[in-house]
């Protein structure tokens, strides 16, 4: 390769993009060629600037503490044996990290799946919680000291229907209806703004048996 041909490799060399063969040839020439050295140097600010052209992002605050913790362990200059150990450990950590990386990607995917499953379960749990709260309101109302039972008869629109209401001034209304013709809307109102009606209406039940009868 002539000097001119080699000089054309300078930009790719500065970029670190030469193939091993070209790189060896170029380096062998570079050692004794001031012009090619100057050429390589002229591309260095380009490579530096490329690093600065990426979108700027801030690392997390925790990272600073992680990085600076290394600085507190540095021994005084000259204690060779002591400097070898952290170097060795850091290298071992880097090797372990490299080996773990594909596994890390796999773990991240698995984590995402599990997070979705957790969200699903949380939604179901919230649903169950709501049912539980409703059941507690029912029980509390039925056990109220001032509870009154009101039996209701079906009217002409639904003569076979039956209903029973439990009413407590302090805790609200609990209303159970049976054998309502489908579709029928039952409206339960509470006159007190502080007590919310609890209501359970088996809309399509054919059974005459009332769970609360007797």
């Amino acid at each position: 390769m002539s000097h001119e041909e080699l000089r054309e490799l300078a930009s790719a060399y500065a970029l670190g993009a030469l193939d091993p063969g070209d790189r060896q040839r170029f380096e062998a020439h570079l050692a004794g060629c001031a012009e090619c050295q100057a050429e390589v140097r002229s591309f260095r600010p380009v490579v530096d600037a490329l690093a600065h052209t990426v979108d700027s992002r801030q690392p997390s605050a925790q990272l600073r503490a992680r990085v600076l913790s290394v600085g507190s362990t540095r021994p005084a200059k000259g204690s060779r044996a002591a400097t070898v150990l952290p170097w060795f450990l850091a290298t071992a950590a880097a090797i372990a990290l490299a080996a773990l990386t594909p596994y890390t990607v796999q773990l991240r995917n698995r984590t995402r799946e599990l997070a979705a499953a957790v969200r699903d379960l949380s939604a179901r749990l919230a649903d169950t919680d709501r049912q539980l709260v409703a059941a507690r309101v029912e029980v509390s109302l039925l056990a109220a000291p001032d509870v009154r039972r009101v039996d209701l008869r079906g009217q002409s629109a639904a003569p076979q229907a039956g209903a029973r209401a439990y009413y407590s001034r302090s805790r609200g209304v609990y209303f159970v209806a049976s054998d309502l013709p489908h579709p029928m809307i039952a409206v339960v109102r509470s006159s007190s703004p502080t007590c919310r009606p609890a209501c359970r209406i088996p809309m399509c039940s054919r059974s005459r048996s009332n769970p609360l009868a007797g």
Binding site: S11, A17, D22, V40, A49, P59
Partner: protein, 204 residues
Amino acid sequence: MKRFDRPLMETPLSDGDALTATVRGDGTGLATLYDRYSRVVYSLALRIVQIEAEAEDVVQEVFAQMFRQAERYDNRRGSVSSWLLTIARTRAIDHVRARKRLPDSRFGREPEAAAENVPDPRANQESQTLTDEQVQRVRRALGDLPAEQRKALELAYYDGLSQSEIAERLKEPLGTVKSRIRAAMMRLRDSLELDKRMREPQAR
């Protein structure tokens, strides 16, 4: 003039002093350099590895390596920021290659490879520090490159591919890739030279 490499407020320590302090075991040296460069190192690493947690691992490795090798730093080979960014790029590319189960990048284990190998006897850190304006110019020049030149350059810079690997990836002849990369690098260099010429009459 505002220096791109000095994003923080007045700091008494220069990069070189901060590195010397680090060698002495003075924690403020490392903290100063971290505060000054962690953002650009992280941004570059993130651009290459694409995963935040992994980019943070790279940042930690970069500063750990700087810390270990601070005594060996030679300012004739480039500024501290240039050194850190070279380590960052090498490390980040190695992370990606490890993830893809490829061998380490051609830079080898020594980050001082390639551009860092040519010491400049006249150099000092000030003359090597890029200004905001220069970076802007390079960014603009990069945007103005023909798409195929930019693509080849990005595969070399961010993916750490060699010219023949790029040719293989793009299914283009090696000669074509070589001339695209060279043309791109020269255009970007021109964008800096222009700036230098404009500044010189004021500076001297």
